[in-house]
């Protein structure tokens, strides 16, 4: 046998065996649940038989001999000479692992490895003699028959989901002669398996096919356009037919790349089974919507995140039987996997009815790890708390068990899912369980995108990063965009939105009509890394489904582009990488902005609440101002503070920013005489292009609360007091203080 042929045979054996063993595990677990029937046993027997035969053929004696022992046990079981017990299932699963390990070794090193499996083999052998079939009646597979609380001859429970059909060929009575068993096997054979009607195709081949179909679609579009002007009936007919055939071809080629999500789920029953055994828990895995189709690239991408979430649910979510019983829940926990299509996306839900997420514990952990401040923790909604588990460096596992605390963390899960344009959301109710909702696109190759024009070029913006579109005309366009020391901003519902001009960032020619002066301003509000910014473009064209194609390595260095696509007219358009673009334009560089925008996101949900910036002025005074009045928060080293006349100033973004020591304008100024801080903390306030810096001693927090102002006292510099986070907080009279400190500030504004 020549070497090449041998290699090919080994490759075939590997593909076939791994697939077979996955099935083997699944069938074993079905048998354990009592859901198996004679066909199941036949299947597992056949799988092992094939592995044994194929490996023997190409001289893999070790695999053959190990496979043989299991085969003997399975043949006794199949023939009804033995009945199943949990011990056998564990041994057989272990046996499947041993085969997988040897095959894995073969795949990687080219030989069968030298692990000694004699103990396992002995176990399997002893099981063959241990339990004669007379011990259990033949009407059942006798699962758990030896458990003390089970009656000696358990009948299948009436509510059992799959009672054995009375006429199933499996109903082999005890002690049936081998001949009958052989006949039964033959009878079972005509059942067509998937492998008879399926062939293996290289994915690269499918991708090529996809490309060609894409091209065909473009050519079709041109033909259809061209023939529309024609009067010739035959030509029109032919064009019409090409049109429909192409559409159908495209759909079908797309389908070839789709796989049911059940392919990824196939290994979960085994994982759950093993973990539950390890942790002494009882877990029932329910899977709904196995047949939901997904692009295979996505299937690959969600494999690891899903595995992690399942492990998490079993490890942290579901309690031990004792705890569950004490809580008045059934001893057996349920873990449900559900997949379904909705709104052009695939939804995957992982539900457990375990203990739920402990909000207090999560907060405590997050504070311990300095991920949030105590003040933030107090102000957080439950939903925000749940989302803390996705932060890097977070783990609530008290003890690093062998199942959690290793491998990927939840932050990696989230990143991986977001990488493919998906999202994760978590809901939980203490004592009732946790639900993780994952939304992912159907395919990676085709994404919905917004087409915009800037500097005469078209660009595609992936819809996942898109939040909203703002269009301003005439007067509004002229005034809408304010300049903050050269940095354009827009007030989006009271929130400052940093802006960038796409044509300037990409060094494209400005459009013929300058968009800042008149006509229309189009702002595309984008989100990158949880922060928002606006991109000013010349024109917003349309949304389209685009096919993502990679750029050549010559262009890999440009972070602003994620790839390219071919538009309907056959021309190439670049796909913007929103994250890269934001970094390039420096619109989301400040860390503080992140906190602000994250908080403001929460603000959108509850409108009657107010977002306040909490700070200290002087020693103890706890002060607040509405965040909407804050243009920016800055820190300057004390050495940068200069004097201009009697006024303290700093150079800020190429301008001179006057500073006002707030503490000096408060009623008890003497008592709270400011201790010079380094760096100087400044709240920048802007009005009509002019800015002033309010010096505070410490910036504490940004909170989002329903505030009732009590105007019981009206002291200088203070509008009133309110209870914020259970503490009395003074609201600063920003305008009053500025007017006192610099009377000309507002006058000049008015002149403009």
């Amino acid at each position: 046998m020549n070497d090449h042929l041998q290699q090919q045979l080994i490759k075939d054996l590997l593909i076939e065996s791994f697939e077979g063993l996955d099935n083997f595990d699944r069938e074993m677990l079905a048998l354990e649940k009592g859901e198996g029937n004679a066909e199941t046993l036949n299947n597992v027997f056949r799988i092992i038989h094939t592995i044994k035969g194929s490996s023997g053929c190409i001289g893999l004696n070790k695999i053959e001999s190990v496979a043989h022992v299991g085969e003997s046990l399975l043949s006794l079981l199949r023939d009804g000479k033995l009945t199943f017990n949990p011990e056998m299932i564990s041994a057989l699963l272990e046996y499947s692992d041993a085969l997988k390990a040897m095959l894995g070794c073969l795949e990687q090193t080219g030989h069968q490895g030298d692990v000694d499996y004699s103990a396992l083999l002995q176990k399997l052998q002893s099981l063959q003699t241990a339990r004669p079939v007379e011990a259990a009646p033949a009407a059942t597979y006798g699962l758990f028959a030896e458990e003390p609380e089970a009656p000696l001859a358990p009948e299948p429970a009436p509510e059992s989901p799959k009672p054995l059909p009375a006429n199933a060929p499996a109903m082999v009575p005890a002690g049936v002669p081998e001949k009958a068993a052989a006949e039964k096997e033959i009878a079972a054979r005509p059942v067509t398996s998937v492998s008879d009607t399926a062939i293996r195709v290289d994915v690269g081949q499918l991708d090529k096919l996809m490309n060609l179909v894409g091209e065909l679609v473009l050519a079709r579009n041109q033909i259809v356009q061209f023939t529309a002007q024609s009067q010739e009936a035959t030509l029109l007919n032919a064009a019409q037919r090409i049109n429909t055939i192409t559409t159908e071809l495209q759909e079908n080629v797309m389908k070839t790349r789709m796989q049911p999500i059940g392919n990824v789920w196939a290994k979960f029953p085994r994982i759950v089974h093993d973990m539950a055994l390890d942790l002494g828990k009882q877990v029932e895995l329910v899977m709904e919507g196995k047949e939901t189709d997904l692009d295979r690239t996505i299937i690959e991408a969600i494999k690891d995140p899903l595995t992690h979430l399942i492990r998490n649910a079993v490890d942290h979510g579901i309690e031990t039987p004792a705890i569950r019983q004490a809580a008045g829940k059934p001893e057996k926990g349920t873990l449900t996997l559900r997949a379904f299509h909705e709104g052009g996306q695939v939804n995957i839900e992982i539900l457990d009815n375990g203990r739920g997420i402990n909000i207090a514990k999560v907060k405590e952990k997050a504070m311990q790890r300095a991920l949030i401040t105590p003040d933030q923790a107090a102000a957080m909604s439950d939903r925000e708390v749940f989302n803390l588990i996705f932060l890097p460096g977070f783990s609530t596992a008290d003890i690093v068990t062998n199942v959690s605390g290793r491998g990927v963390g939840m932050d990696v899960v989230k990143t991986n899912i977001e990488k493919i344009g998906g999202s994760v959301d978590v809901l939980s109710e203490a004592g009732q369980g946790t639900t993780l909702k994952i939304k992912i696109p159907l395919t990676l190759a085709i994404i919905p995108a917004l087409i915009v024009t800037s500097g005469g070029e078209r660009f595609a913006i992936p819809q996942v990063s898109l939040l909203e579109l703002v269009r301003m005309e005439a007067e509004q366009a002229r005034k809408g965009i304010e300049m903050l020391y050269g940095a354009p901003i827009y007030r989006l519902r009271g929130q400052l939105l940093p802006l960038a001009y796409l044509n300037r960032e990409l060094k494209l020619d400005a459009p013929a009509v300058s968009s800042t002066n008149d006509a229309v301003v189009n702002i595309v509000v984008l989100q990158a890394d949880g922060r928002q910014f606006g991109m000013v473009v010349d024109e917003i064209n349309d949304t389209e489904e685009i096919v993502v194609k990679p750029l050549g390595k010559q262009l890999k260095g440009i972070t602003c582009f994620a790839g390219a696509t071919i538009m309907g007219d056959g021309k190439v358009a670049l796909i913007l990488d929103v994250m890269g673009l934001a970094q390039h334009a420096n619109v989301i560089a400040e860390v503080r902005d992140r906190a602000v925008s994250a908080k403001n996101k929460a603000a959108e949900k509850v409108d009657e609440r107010q977002t306040l910036l909490l700070f200290n002025a002087g020693q103890n005074a706890r002060m607040a101002i509405p965040l909407s009045m804050v243009a920016r928060l800055e820190e300057f080293p004390r050495s940068q503070v200069e004097w201009s006349g009697k006024q303290e100033v700093v150079q800020y973004r190429g301008q001179i920013l006057p500073l006002i020591q707030i503490a000096n304008y408060l009623p008890n100024a003497a008592a709270t005489a400011p201790t010079p801080t380094d760096p100087v903390q400044v709240v920048v306030y802007s009005e009509a292009g002019r800015s002033v810096g309010l010096v505070v001693s410490k910036i504490n927090d940004i909170v989002h609360e329903a505030v009732t102002v009590k105007r019981s006292h009206n002291r200088d510099g203070i509008l009133g007091s309110a209870v914020v986070q259970d503490k009395v907080t003074d609201l600063l009279d920003v305008i009053g203080i500025i007017r006192t400190a610099d009377p000309s500030f507002y006058e000049e504004t008015r002149k403009i």
Binding site: L218, R458, L508, L551, I558, I566, G570, V572
Partner: protein
């Protein structure tokens, strides 16, 4: 031994690329320019559904720019990273040349040309400069001088 070369002209110079490295030669195509890209990259073209980067050989070889009205031709070459188009002034014939008239580039060859030209065939009428396609499409060390 003979070798076949696909030949073309850039700024009056006669260049050749081994025929096996050339995927195809196509007429000028409308292209999409890539903002922020090095000037040597003229843009992206759609080659039957495949997106191909077009490199302007004049700029790559640091030669004076082409007249605005003169449309370049695409010589699409295969590289490790897939197809790349080289923009040239004019296409020549496919020529078959004996090995024995090959010579390494003369010492006097300066600048990028020295880096990208593998050697010279002394043809009767003209010298044929053989371009190293891998090096030509690799812009990592080319900088953005142009």
């Amino acid at each position: 031994m003979t070798k076949q070369f696909c030949t073309f002209f850039v700024n009056g110079l006669f260049f050749g690329v081994e025929v096996l490295k050339v995927q195809e030669v196509i007429r000028y195509q409308g292209m999409t320019r890539v903002p922020l890209a090095p000037a040597t990259i003229q843009g992206l073209i759609n080659l039957r559904g495949q997106i191909v980067t077009a490199i302007d050989l004049r700029r790559r070889l640091e030669l004076p720019p082409r007249d605005a009205e003169q449309l370049p031709m695409n010589v699409v070459v295969r590289s490790e990273d897939g197809a790349v188009s080289l923009l040239v002034d004019e296409i020549g014939d496919v020529v078959e040349i004996q090995d024995d008239i090959f010579e390494h580039p003369p010492e006097t060859l300066k600048g990028v040309a020295r880096e990208l030209v593998q050697g010279v065939y002394k043809l009767k009428a003209q010298l044929l400069l053989i371009l190293d396609t891998e090096k030509t499409v690799n812009l990592a060390n080319a900088g953005t001088r142009a």
